[in-house]
Symmetry: C2
Subunit: 482 residues, 2 copies
C-alpha cells in the first residue's frame, strides 16, 4: 500500500480561499490537535503538545530567571470567594462551569472551576503574607483553566485551556507597576525572539482591561489574515483584590498596609499565533527555537543502493543527534515525495535528502521550509550548515512577519478610510482617539475593530479623533481581533 506524493497537500484549503478553514485544516493535518467528544474542548496531540512544551520550557526559564517560584493552587473556587471582587465576578460569572455534586451528595455551596485564579490565590496570599519581609511575593502557576465559551476555535478559544498565571504581591504601587512592565517585557521577548512573532506592547483601554485590574497591559500581534491576536496580558491589580481578600502586611513602622498586586498570563493560544503568523498553503512553518524537530532526514531509496543510503542516513543521524532535534524518516510504505509533503505540513525547518549520488559525492541536499531553497552541503560540514540555516530561518521568519505588519499597518485620519480598510484586507489602524468608551463601542459596532492597545511609546495624539472628531487624547492601534 504505497501512498503517492499527491493527495496530501490538496486536502487543505488555501489561505486565500478561506483562512479559518485553512487554519483548522493545518491543525488537523499537521496533527497538532483536534476537537474532542466534549463540546468546545480540544485534545492536544503529541506533536502539538511538544510544540507547547518547548514554548513552556523557554518561558518557565524566563519566569524563574526573573525571580519567580512555581506553586500550585486548587482547581476550585467556592462561589463566595469568586464573588468577593465585584468587577471580577461580573466579568467571569457568565462563563463559569459550576460543580454542584460530589459523588451522590449535593454540595452546600456551588464551586466554580477556576476561570483564572485571582480569587483563590488572593485568599491564600492573605494567609502567607504577614510582614514586609514576606514581600515581594513572586509566584507563578502552570495550570488548566475553564471558560464556558459559546464559540470556540482550536487553540485560540477553547472551554478548557492550558496557561501560566503569575501572581505577585508588593509593598508599593511603584514596585507593582515595575513588575507588570517587566513581565510584559518577558512576553514581548518570548513572542519576538522565540516565536518569531512581532508584537506591539501597550496598555488596554478601560473597555478591554481585565475585570478587577487597575491597568492591563498587552502584547498584540498581527496574524497573516490581518486580524490581531492578544498574545499575552500583564495586569497591575492595584489594591482591588488586597482589600477584598484582606491581604495586609506589617510595614517597617509596625503599621498594617494593603499589598499591591499584579497578575500576568499567556496560554496555549500562542500555538495558534505561531500557526497564523508563519504558516502557508503547504502547512506549518515553525520557528526553530520551538520546533519539535529541527531537521528530518529523508532517504531516496532504490533497490540496488538501498543499503548504502540507509547506512549513510544512520551515520548522519548519529552525528546530529543530541546536537539538534533530528529524526530520519525511513518508512518503506511512503514515497519520498509523500514524506516531503508531510514534513512540510508539520513545518520542520530543514529537510535533509540523501540519495545514492549524494552518498557517492559525500554530500546531502538541504532544503529549507521557509523559502524552499535547496543547498548542496558536504557531509563533513553538515551540522554547521544546519545550525547556520536554523539561525537564518529564525531571524528571517521574524523579519518577514515584521514586514507584513509594516505593510498592513495604516496611519489613518478619517473614518471613511478606516471603514474601507476594515471592510477589505484589514490590518492595524493607527489613529487618534478621543478617549471615550462610548466612541470606542461605536467604532466596534460599525467596523468590528477594537482598540488593541495604547502603545507604550508614541501615543501622543496628532489631531482629532478618527471617529467622533473630538479632540484626540491618545494615538492607538485598532484592529479586528480574535
Amino acid at each position: 500500500m504505497t501512498k503517492q506524493d499527491d493527495g496530501f497537500v490538496k486536502e487543505i484549503t488555501s489561505k486565500e480561499e478561506d483562512f479559518s478553514r485553512w487554519y483548522v485544516d493545518v491543525i488537523r493535518k499537521a496533527e497538532l490537535a483536534d476537537y474532542s467528544s466534549i463540546k468546545g474542548c480540544m485534545v492536544i496531540k503529541p506533536y502539538g503538545y511538544e510544540l507547547w512544551e518547548n514554548i513552556k520550557n523557554d518561558l518557565d526559564n524566563k519566569i524563574k530567571d526573573t525571580g519567580h517560584k512555581n506553586a500550585y493552587f486548587p482547581l476550585f473556587v467556592p462561589e463566595s470567594l469568586l464573588k468577593k471582587e465585584a468587577e471580577h465576578v461580573e466579568g467571569f460569572a457568565p462563563e463559569v462551569a459550576w460543580i454542584t455534586h460530589g459523588g451522590d451528595d449535593e454540595l452546600e455551596e456551588r464551586i466554580a472551576i477556576r476561570p483564572t485564579s485571582e480569587a483563590i490565590i488572593g485568599d491564600t496570599f492573605s494567609q502567607w503574607i504577614e510582614s514586609w519581609r514576606d514581600l515581594p511575593l513572586l509566584i507563578n502557576q502552570w495550570a488548566n483553566v475553564v471558560r464556558w465559551e459559546k464559540v470556540t476555535r482550536l487553540f485560540l478559544r477553547t472551554r478548557e485551556f492550558l496557561w501560566q498565571e503569575g501572581h505577585t504581591a508588593h509593598a508599593t504601587q511603584q514596585e507593582a507597576e515595575e513588575e507588570t512592565m517587566k513581565m510584559l517585557g518577558v512576553y514581548q521577548e518570548l513572542c519576538e525572539k522565540v516565536l518569531a512573532m512581532p508584537v506591539i506592547p501597550g496598555r488596554k483601554t478601560e473597555n478591554q482591561k481585565f475585570p478587577g485590574a487597575l491597568h492591563t497591559y498587552t502584547v498584540e500581534a498581527l496574524m497573516s489574515n490581518g486580524w490581531a491576536l492578544q498574545a499575552g496580558t500583564s495586569h497591575n491589580l492595584g489594591q482591588h483584590f488586597a482589600r477584598v481578600f484582606d491581604i495586609q502586611y506589617l510595614d517597617q513602622n509596625q503599621e498594617q498596609q494593603y499589598v499591591w498586586q499584579t497578575s500576568w498570563g499567556v496560554s496555549t493560544r500562542l500555538v495558534g499565533g505561531v500557526i497564523m503568523t508563519h504558516g502557508d498553503d503547504s502547512g506549518l512553518i515553525l520557528p526553530p527555537a520551538i520546533a519539535p524537530l529541527h531537521a528530518v532526514i529523508v532517504p531516496i531509496l532504490f533497490d540496488k543502493t538501498r543499503d548504502i543510503v540507509l547506512e549513510k542516513v544512520d551515520q548522519l543521524l548519529n552525528t546530529l543527534s543530541g546536537k539538534i532535534r533530528v529524526e530520519a524518516d525511513t518508512r518503506d510504505e511512503y514515497t519520498p515525495g509523500w514524506k516531503f509533503n508531510e514534513w512540510e505540513m508539520k513545518g520542520v525547518p530543514v529537510r535533509i535528502e540523501v540519495g545514492p549520488r549524494d552518498v557517492k559525492n559525500q554530500q546531502v541536499v538541504l532544503v529549507r521550509r521557509d523559502n524552499r531553497e535547496k543547498i548542496i552541503v558536504k557531509e563533513n560540514n553538515l551540522l554547521d550548515e544546519i545550525q547556520k540555516n536554523l539561525e537564518d530561518i529564525q531571524s528571517g521568519l521574524f523579519q518577514k512577519a515584521l514586514d507584513f505588519r509594516t505593510e498592513n499597518t495604516y496611519e489613518v485620519d478619517n473614518f471613511k478610510d478606516f471603514e474601507d480598510i476594515m471592510a477589505g484586507g484589514r490590518g492595524f489602524i493607527y489613529a487618534n482617539w478621543c478617549g471615550s468608551s462610548e466612541c470606542e463601542d461605536e467604532v466596534q459596532n460599525l467596523t468590528k475593530a477594537t482598540i488593541r492597545c495604547i502603545p507604550l511609546e508614541g501615543y501622543k495624539p496628532t489631531g482629532e479623533c478618527v471617529h467622533c472628531s473630538k479632540e484626540g487624547k491618545y494615538k492607538v492601534y485598532f484592529a479586528k481581533a480574535y
Copy 2:
C-alpha cells in the same frame, strides 16, 4: 527582631508521639503545602512544588526514553462516556465531582471532572487508531484529577491531585503485558534510585485491582510508621475498554481486531512517601536527587569579621553555582542556630558553615543532614567533597530504608502472630494466602491489613493460609496501608 535558635524544632510533634501529627507538622513547617479554603484540596507551596518538579522531570525523561509521547486530553468526561465500562464507573462514580451548569445554562448532560482518563482517552484512541501501523500507540499525560474523597491527607489523598497517566494501545496481549511490566520497572527505578525509597513490585489481588483492569501491578513501599504506601500502579487493561469504546485496528491480514491496552500512573502522593520514608523529628530529609537545594551556606557573623566572611561566602557560592543546587542564607534577622534548624526542617542534604576561623584556615565545616556528621573540608576541595557526600547520602538513605523494611517484615505462619504484629508496630507480613477474596476481606476486617501485593518473585506458597488454614495458593505481603 532577632529570632532565637530555640522555638523552631519544638513546634513539631515527635514521630514517636503521634506520627500523623508529625507528618502534617513537617509539611507545614517545611513549607511544602497547606490546606486551602476548598475542603480536601491543598495548595502546593513553592518548596513542595519544586520537589514535585524534580520528581516530575526525572520521570518525564524516563517516560520519553521508553518511547512515549506527552499529549493532553480534556478535564471533562460526559456522564455517558464514563458509564460505558461497567466496573470502571462503579469504581469511580461515588467520588466524582459533577458539573451541571455552564454560566447560567443548565447542561443537557452532566459532566464529570476526570477521576482518571481511561474513558476520554479510550474515546479518542478509537478515532486515532485505524491500522496496525498506528500501533503501538504510547501516550502519557501530566494532569490534575479529582476524586471527591471524604477523608483527606496532605499529598496522600486530596480531592484534587497532580499525576501522570500513561495510556497505551498494542496489537497483542503479550505486548500489552510487556508494556505493563516495563512501566512497573520504571516506577521501581524512580522510587529506589531517585526517591531512595525501596519498593516491592507485585500484582494486586482481584479485590484491590483498578476498576476495569485485567491485572493491576503495583510498587509498595513501607513508611517509617510501619504502614504501607502504594507508590505507583501499572494496569494491563486487556480489551475491556477497547470493546466498549470500539478501539479496533485493521491487522496485516485486513481483519478488524480490538487493541490491547495499558495504563499506569504515579502522583503527588510520592512526595508524601518521601517525607514518611526519610523524615525525622527535626523535619524532612531529602534525597539529593530530588532536593530543591543540595547545599545551603550559612555564614557565622561577628561584627569585626563580617565583611571577610560574607566575601568568602560569595566566592564559594560563585564556585558552586551551576554545579550543584546551592544558596547562601545571609539574612541578618536570624541567628545561625535558627537557620540550622530551618534548613534541617527543610531537609537540605548538606549545610556549609563558614566562620572567621574557617576563612583564615581556608576551610569550611560541612554538616550532613542524614547523620549530622561534621566534616572539616578545605576550600579548594569543596565541590568534590560535597558531591561525594551527596552520593553517599543518596545511597545511605536507600540502605537505611531497606534495613528498616527488612527489620519490619515478618514471615508469619499463624494468625495469632499476625494479629499481634498488626496491633503493635506493624510492618509487612509475608504469609501464605488461600486466594479467596472473602478470606482477604475477613483479614482486613479483623486487622485492617490488606494484601499489598502478590510479589513478582517467590510467591510460591509454603504452607496453609495464614487465616483460614485452607491450602495456600500464594505467598503475599499484607500491611495496613494509606
